[in-house]
Symmetry: D2
Subunit: 377 residues, 4 copies
Amino acid sequence: MGMVGGGIGAFIGGVHRMAANLDGEIELVCGAFSSDPVKSKASGEALYLPSDRVYGSFQEMIEQEKKLPADVRMQFVSIVTPNHMHFAPAKMALENGFHVVCDKPLCFTMEEAYELQALVKKTDLLFALTHNYTGYPMVKHARQMIKEGQLGALRKIVVEYPQGWLSTKVEDTPSKQAAWRTDPQRSGIAGAMGDIGTHAENLAEYITGLKITRLCADLSIFVPGRLLDDDGNVLLHFENGAKGILHASQISAGEENNLNIRVYGEKGGLEWRQMEPNTLLVKWLDQPTQILRTGVGALSRQAHAHTRIPAGHPEGYLEAFANIYRNFAFCLRAHLEGKQPDPIYRDFPSVDDGVRGMLFIQKVVQSSADTQKWTDF
Amino acid sequence: MGMVGGGIGAFIGGVHRMAANLDGEIELVCGAFSSDPVKSKASGEALYLPSDRVYGSFQEMIEQEKKLPADVRMQFVSIVTPNHMHFAPAKMALENGFHVVCDKPLCFTMEEAYELQALVKKTDLLFALTHNYTGYPMVKHARQMIKEGQLGALRKIVVEYPQGWLSTKVEDTPSKQAAWRTDPQRSGIAGAMGDIGTHAENLAEYITGLKITRLCADLSIFVPGRLLDDDGNVLLHFENGAKGILHASQISAGEENNLNIRVYGEKGGLEWRQMEPNTLLVKWLDQPTQILRTGVGALSRQAHAHTRIPAGHPEGYLEAFANIYRNFAFCLRAHLEGKQPDPIYRDFPSVDDGVRGMLFIQKVVQSSADTQKWTDF
Amino acid sequence: MGMVGGGIGAFIGGVHRMAANLDGEIELVCGAFSSDPVKSKASGEALYLPSDRVYGSFQEMIEQEKKLPADVRMQFVSIVTPNHMHFAPAKMALENGFHVVCDKPLCFTMEEAYELQALVKKTDLLFALTHNYTGYPMVKHARQMIKEGQLGALRKIVVEYPQGWLSTKVEDTPSKQAAWRTDPQRSGIAGAMGDIGTHAENLAEYITGLKITRLCADLSIFVPGRLLDDDGNVLLHFENGAKGILHASQISAGEENNLNIRVYGEKGGLEWRQMEPNTLLVKWLDQPTQILRTGVGALSRQAHAHTRIPAGHPEGYLEAFANIYRNFAFCLRAHLEGKQPDPIYRDFPSVDDGVRGMLFIQKVVQSSADTQKWTDF
Amino acid sequence: MGMVGGGIGAFIGGVHRMAANLDGEIELVCGAFSSDPVKSKASGEALYLPSDRVYGSFQEMIEQEKKLPADVRMQFVSIVTPNHMHFAPAKMALENGFHVVCDKPLCFTMEEAYELQALVKKTDLLFALTHNYTGYPMVKHARQMIKEGQLGALRKIVVEYPQGWLSTKVEDTPSKQAAWRTDPQRSGIAGAMGDIGTHAENLAEYITGLKITRLCADLSIFVPGRLLDDDGNVLLHFENGAKGILHASQISAGEENNLNIRVYGEKGGLEWRQMEPNTLLVKWLDQPTQILRTGVGALSRQAHAHTRIPAGHPEGYLEAFANIYRNFAFCLRAHLEGKQPDPIYRDFPSVDDGVRGMLFIQKVVQSSADTQKWTDF
């Protein structure tokens, strides 16, 4: 693995590295950790990389690595830069034969998104987007239960992603994380909706197996002087007639990272909360609610394949994130060996999920500005 | 107290009687428990009432009671019939000088609502509407915290009322409760929105002290053959610029009676759930969340005045309901004695709240049918 | 009902009255609310009693009421005084043909306990002890599940009753509640163990249907200058070979009234917590835990008979307390009519439970002072 | 790192590897994964180790690695075998100059324990025992709060470790995990008490900073035919006069891995549960309980130093385990560089904790057999 971005002080870069390390299937062999070569070098050194594998730019990394023998050079690129810097390295990596893992949202504009999508199709290289929340075992299980019809036809979906960390104008403090997320030049046309609303959208479509068909959005900027939405409420219609609500917020004071979803069907309902991810509540008509737990009893094969340790030993965010990397690694190994991977591991968000996320951003922004109720999605 | 409705087998009539009994401040002295005189008699007997105080109709009750000496006759009427039968007894009671406690929603049509409102104003009689969920001590405390500005200016309100009991066509079984609630002739123009959506609306406005100014509603009928909405999702704008979401549902499979509200302001947030009503979570910016509990520590005078027993001895739905009756009784006693009640007890939902609830029903139904996004409220 | 004790400012007297009021089956007709006649009068007046039914002493009350016509006089006595004043009114009531409801613990000494037990047997009058926590519907259901063998043979019982309100020397403040509970002259030989340990013991034996056969206790006084135990830890053996732990404490800082019990058998386990009493967790071997809830699904007849309102409308402490009064009233009515009550209502703690509680107090105090491990019970 | 044990199919070996991998500070370079050389080879291959670094026995590994150049050979041994096979590799490693990480309990007998303790002292090599539960950030914070006196003098400690997985005779099925844990030849003189009771003891002493001074134990074997305790209840006295309860069980049907602790002092209390490890409840006298959360607000430096990701992104068992490995790695690096490590990282369980755990096992077994109440510890 070669990394683009994620130098010292970054948040998500470290997460990607820990996720890639966890299962011992992936080795970080090189990186362009910063657009500042000095900082990139320092970062590489702190990561125990040989100095000749630490590059001053992603271009240099891709070019140089390409020249190395096949068994030495990186096999894929992991892109962990802010949104506006996903496209260029992803494109160049694909064009030079490197597989890609990319943080979300996919990129900056719809044009970029479609270009990447076409490029992945054309090159037949592997591409994973780290919508990491779908990596949790109980999310996999929820999806499977719904797929098997255990809840009957779905009727209502409520997905929420409240955070409170941008309740004040944090972007005016030296917070690198807040600065780029609230900056239209680096984040894109949406703030909270792009940063976390897309996770909610992805989670809802992943678990339900249903596509959103139209939506009605009400985005707000609550913190004076902020340039992008910090809160949004959205009504949803799904392809099977189900209705829903999605709301995401970064001004919900006192909330940490409270992504959660409730799905109701004819026969029962599900509830999952990211902050207590090893629990899946299953609600039945006039029967006791069941507490499904990672590792307990006869869960689906999908849940088991993404669980590392026995029941009661909580697995968290990094393990879910690592499931994406591990599945990617298993598929990459199969790819390199010319084999088919076990289908259970071919389960990570794709460039198509990325395009869908970009469309979601575009549609909620458009809907919010509209006086008509519904915007097709 | 004389009761209209609430014969044997009714749900809410029994609740009203227990709530009225609890504090020993109110005595049931007569009733017209059913439009069927035989059933009314049987009900009165089961309640240990003398047979001459059990009437065959509310008209008879009001006429006869009026003739009794002042210290013997009922002092107020409690109306616990289905929605379409609130107006007539309420009107007649007011016109004959009896105070009124009435179940919600106030009545059947806006015309009736305005007429009752005018009548209450004209007669200067006491009128309480049993939006009982605002009777909980921690709801009172939440309202007080917000009033005192502890959360700063409010930004976001999420109020939910999911139930699952109408997930199947229960109205086709011998369920009296389901039958009238899903019948436009008895329930009115809305189903779930009238039955429980109004509770959510009332709770949100009570706690925040803010009025909803416009809304965008998406009502659904999920159970085939049903005539009224069994689910609804609503975007809200509040008078101070706050945004919100209200959703109410009777097809959220596996949900009991999960009314809950979250309010976020500049400085902090609140979360309250009716099914665990003695807990109020208070969330702060970058500080530990606090678990406020009925009876623990220095809560507001409002909370204390509506709490009966020490911390850790859970008070529930009936106690909250009883707070409305007890406050009404205290105010009635003061009224009869020509005194002013302690303002802390002048805290029960009024006919104006009832008019507002009726308007809410009208507006969500109208908005749901509209292609325009916003409907003024 | 005639009440002994429970004047203005008392805690448990008000609880008894609300519990007796709730279901409309019992009427307070007289009382000796205080040993101070002036205070007794004032209390009676506040309760809307006619002044000639408010007495200056329990002796006067029993004597005078006895002279009244059978359809006027009180039918039973409710005793809500501190521990040292249970015996005399209970004895006199029984000797004069009045049924009795008495707060716990039964009395002050074992001699008194045995005397009351004999008297109840001899007079064949009804006697209820308000170990109110067994009045909760989910406690009834737990007992029934175990009785039916759903958990298999029981192995382990953990019952806890932590409170924190005596963490400081509250008895030196003007707290009437703390004063008598920490005073050996009024409370008896035990503090926390008598006040709340007996509730834990009663709950454990009621739910499991098993008797404790021996115990090993370690009582402590943590607050300097206090005269009775404010904390105690006890190892238990049960008659079927099950083992257990009971601990009760009034110095567990920050705890409210956290009575809870866990029972484990060969096939599954149960968990119930008084502060969230409408939930019963049922744990199975390698199967999802179930959340049983008051009013949801096919619960036992025992649970239903002690539930008033539909699922999701929380019933609390007063409703559980009222279940004892209501069952007592039903049995008393049957008794007066010479009928057998429905066995499902013959379910309230008896004088025998009271004797057992007194023995428990004696045994834990004895064991705590002993150097031998086990004390037979 | 060279590993002893942990071949394919083992549980704890995989945990150690993931924990060592997570932070990118440690590299697995060799191993003797099984006493069966074929199985060891296969395991090494699956871990991408070169075949010449996969050994058939720990003796071979230590001997061969010792001959390698200092910058190539393993720097420490990680021992993840069943209890009876900790001593020999640990001893040999220390005697040959290798640092050691060892799973708990330390070894098989007190003699072995004391010998290892002496050897560590003599060689001045680093030795970490993986009492992993003390690796959680909120456990660190709890310890720090108590150290700073925020709770005042401690009074009561309740530590529990219920599991249910041995509720049936699992050792008769092909469960490797159950087989050795219930076998006196491999597990030692205790079953549940050695396997998980020691974790509870270690957690209690770590958080409180207090030593247990005497105890009274009641161990049981509930599953017929089992040879070692599967349940135990213990009364505790601590050095400052605090009292406590420890219970551990593997027959608490339906429990997963529910280690938890409550500590009560003069001024407040703490509650932490391993299955929701990012939450620490802090209870105060007559003040709202606070929910302290990993990453939220101004936590102690100790908590921050053991937290990887922002609030609301749950860290779990592996992250806590990894904190031991990372701290060990930091200290080892400092040791190799002749520097002092930052004291905040010198925080991992030592050989002395291991000796204490072995003593605990001995004392509870002895106490359980005794008729005297107290056994000194």
